[in-house]
C-alpha cells in the first residue's frame, strides 16, 4: 500500500468514527426520551397539571412544582441577565488590560466550574440567613442567578469579542462615544450570541436541584407560590422526591413530570434559536 491509500483509509475510518461518536449520544438520548414518553404520556392530562401534591400517586399533581419553576425561571432571568450582560460588556469594552482584569477573568472562568451545591451553601448563608430571606423564591432565584452569572458573562464576552473591530473603529471615527458605539453597533451585532448564552444558562438553572434543596426548597408545598417571599418547590425536586418512593405510581408521575420539564427546556432552546435567527436577519450581515 502506498501513502495515498493509507491516507485514504485513515480519512474514511475517521469519518466512520465521527459518525459513531455523533450517533452514540443521540441514540442514548432518543432511547431515554422514548422510555419516558412510554411510561409517562398516559398519565399526562390537565388534572395532572392542576392538582396539588398528594400521598396517593393517582391524585398527585405538579401544579405547585411547575408554577414554582416558572417563578424561578422569570426571577432568575431578571437578576442574572442585566448583571451578567453588563459585566461581560464591561470586561470586554471598558476594562483596561491589567493584572486585576486578568485576575477577574480567571476567577470568573473558575466560578463557572464550581459545583452547584457550593452555590447552594453560599445562597443559604447569604440570602437565607444574613439577609433573612429564608427558604423563599427570592432566596432560591438569587442563588441560581449567582450560579449562572459566570456562564452569562463568558457568553456575553465571547459574543462581544466576535464583533469585528472595524465596526468599532468606523463608529468611533464618526464621533460616536463608547456607549453610543456599544448601544448602536456592538449590542445589535452580538445580541444573537448573548441571547443564546443567556437562554442556555437559564435552561441549566431550571434543571438545577441541589442548590435549591440546600437553600430550603421543599418537596411538599401545599399551595402554589403567589409572591417572591413564598415557599416553593420546583419540578426537578418534585421528580427527585417521587422517584425515591417505593410505589410504582409515583415513578409514572415522575416520568410525566419529566416530560413537562423537558418540554420547558425544549421550548426555551427553541426560543433561543428563533431569537438568534431573527436577530441575524435584522442586522443584515
Amino acid at each position: 500500500m502506498n501513502k495515498v491509500q493509507i491516507n485514504r483509509i485513515k480519512d474514511k475510518s475517521f469519518g466512520v468514527l465521527g459518525l459513531i461518536a455523533t450517533l452514540s449520544g443521540l441514540i442514548i438520548l432518543g432511547f431515554f426520551i422514548g422510555q419516558i414518553l412510554h411510561e409517562g404520556l398516559n398519565r399526562l392530562d390537565m388534572d395532572f397539571l392542576k392538582d396539588l401534591p398528594s400521598r396517593k400517586p393517582e391524585k398527585a399533581g405538579i401544579y405547585t412544582a411547575w408554577v414554582g419553576t416558572l417563578w424561578i425561571l422569570v426571577m432568575t432571568t431578571l437578576f442574572a441577565f442585566p448583571l451578567g450582560v453588563a459585566a461581560g460588556i464591561y470586561l470586554e469594552e471598558y476594562a483596561k488590560k491589567s493584572k486585576l482584569s486578568s485576575l477577574l477573568e480567571i476567577n470568573i472562568s473558575n466560578l463557572a466550574g464550581v459545583p452547584s451545591i457550593i452555590y447552594g451553601l453560599l445562597g443559604l448563608e447569604i440570602f437565607g440567613r444574613v439577609m433573612h430571606l429564608g427558604n423563599s423564591l427570592l432566596a432560591g432565584s438569587l442563588t441560581l442567578a449567582l450560579l449562572i452569572l459566570p456562564i452569562i458573562i463568558v457568553a456575553t464576552r465571547e459574543a462581544v469579542r466576535a464583533v469585528p473591530n472595524s465596526l468599532r473603529m468606523a463608529s468611533y471615527g464618526l464621533g460616536a462615544s463608547k456607549w453610543q458605539t456599544i448601544w448602536n453597533q456592538i449590542l445589535p451585532a452580538s445580541m444573537g450570541g448573548i441571547f443564546t448564552g443567556v437562554i442556555l444558562a437559564i435552561s441549566r438553572a431550571v434543571g438545577e436541584t441541589a442548590p435549591l434543596i440546600v437553600v430550603g426548597a421543599l418537596a411538599y408545598v401545599p399551595f402554589a407560590p403567589s409572591g417572591p417571599m413564598d415557599e416553593f418547590t420546583v419540578l426537578p425536586i418534585q421528580i427527585f422526591n417521587w422517584i425515591s418512593r417505593p410505589q410504582h405510581g409515583f415513578a409514572v408521575n415522575a416520568a410525566a413530570a419529566i416530560i413537562i420539564l423537558l418540554g420547558i427546556t425544549f421550548i426555551m432552546n427553541g426560543i433561543a434559536v428563533y431569537l438568534r435567527n431573527r436577530w441575524q436577519k435584522k442586522i443584515n450581515w
Binding site: L167, A170, S171, G173, G175, I283, N284
Partner: protein
C-alpha cells in the same frame, strides 16, 4: 479656490508603542484644500501618523506621544478637547470598506443620529447630498433600504466616504482606501478625491506610487518612523532631494 478646509500642523511629534518608538520628531504642515499623500514602506509610521490626526491611536493600550498636533492652531491632544467633537470634524475612511451591518440609508445617517439630529427631513437631505458627493446616489437611490453589505466592494467604500461626508467634516483621512478594490473602483475613488479637495483637506496613505502621483498635491515620504522628505508631489516624483526617497519611489526598495 476658497479656503474651507483646515490646516493641520505637527510639532516635534514622537510616538511610542510601549518602549518602541514609532514616530520620531515629526514636523509637518498640511495645506488646506489640498491632497497630501503619505508614502513609505510598511511599518514606516505613515498610518500611525494618519491615526494621530483624529486620535484613533488612543485605542491602542500602549500608545503614548509627545509634541503637539494642531488643527487650526488648537492642540488636539489638550485636555480641553472632546474627542467625539473633534472626530465630527475629521472624517475617516479605512483600508477595508467597513459599512455597518445596517441599511444604506442608516449607514449614512449614523453620524447625524449619534449627534442627536432628529429632524427626518434634514437627515434625508444630508444623506442624499452625501451620496451624491460620493458619486453613489444614482446607483442606490431606489434601494436605500437595502443592506449595505449587499453592495460591491467599490460601492461599499464609496458608501463609507458618504458616511464620513454626511456629518460635514473639514478634514478627511484615508488609510489606503483603494487597496482592497479593483482598478475601476479605484479610478472612481480617485476621481472623487480630486473633486472633494475643493471643499476638504484630504490626507491619504497609499502604497501605490502612481496613485500618490495622480491624486495628491503634496507628498510626505516616511521611513523608519522619520519624515524623510515633504514637498509638492511633482517635486518629489521628478527631483527628490533625498536619495532614500528616490530609491523608494523608483521601486529600488520598500
Amino acid at each position: 479656490m476658497s479656503q474651507t478646509g483646515h490646516k493641520i500642523q505637527s510639532k516635534n511629534v514622537d510616538v511610542f508603542y510601549g518602549d518602541k518608538k514609532a514616530l520620531s520628531n515629526i514636523n509637518l504642515d498640511i495645506t488646506p484644500n489640498s491632497v497630501t499623500a503619505l508614502i513609505g514602506p510598511s511599518g514606516c509610521g505613515k498610518s500611525t501618523y494618519l491615526r494621530l490626526l483624529n486620535r484613533m491611536n488612543d485605542y491602542i493600550d500602549t500608545f503614548s506621544m509627545t509634541g503637539e498636533v494642531l488643527i487650526d492652531g488648537q492642540d488636539i491632544y489638550s485636555s480641553k478637547i472632546e474627542v467625539e467633537e473633534l472626530r465630527t470634524n475629521i472624517g475617516m475612511v479605512f483600508q477595508k470598506p467597513n459599512p455597518f451591518p445596517k441599511s444604506i440609508f442608516e449607514n449614512v445617517a449614523y453620524g447625524l443620529k449619534i449627534q442627536g439630529v432628529k429632524d427626518k427631513k434634514l437627515i434625508a437631505n444630508r444623506v442624499e447630498t452625501a451620496l451624491k458627493q460620493s458619486a453613489l446616489w444614482d446607483e442606490v437611490k431606489d434601494d436605500l433600504k437595502k443592506p449595505a453589505l449587499s453592495l460591491s466592494g467599490g460601492q461599499q467604500q464609496r458608501l463609507c466616504i458618504a458616511r464620513a461626508l454626511a456629518v460635514d467634516p473639514k478634514i478627511i483621512l484615508m488609510d489606503e482606501p483603494t487597496s482592497a478594490l479593483d482598478p475601476i473602483s479605484t479610478a472612481k475613488i480617485e476621481e472623487l478625491i480630486f473633486e472633494l479637495k475643493q471643499k476638504y483637506t484630504i490626507v491619504i496613505v497609499t502604497h501605490n506610487m502612481q496613485q500618490a502621483g495622480r491624486v495628491s498635491d503634496y507628498t510626505a515620504f516616511f521611513y523608519m518612523g522619520e519624515l524623510i522628505e515633504f514637498d509638492e508631489t511633482t517635486n518629489i516624483f521628478t527631483h527628490p532631494k533625498e536619495e532614500r526617497t528616490q530609491n523608494y519611489i523608483t521601486g529600488r526598495f520598500g
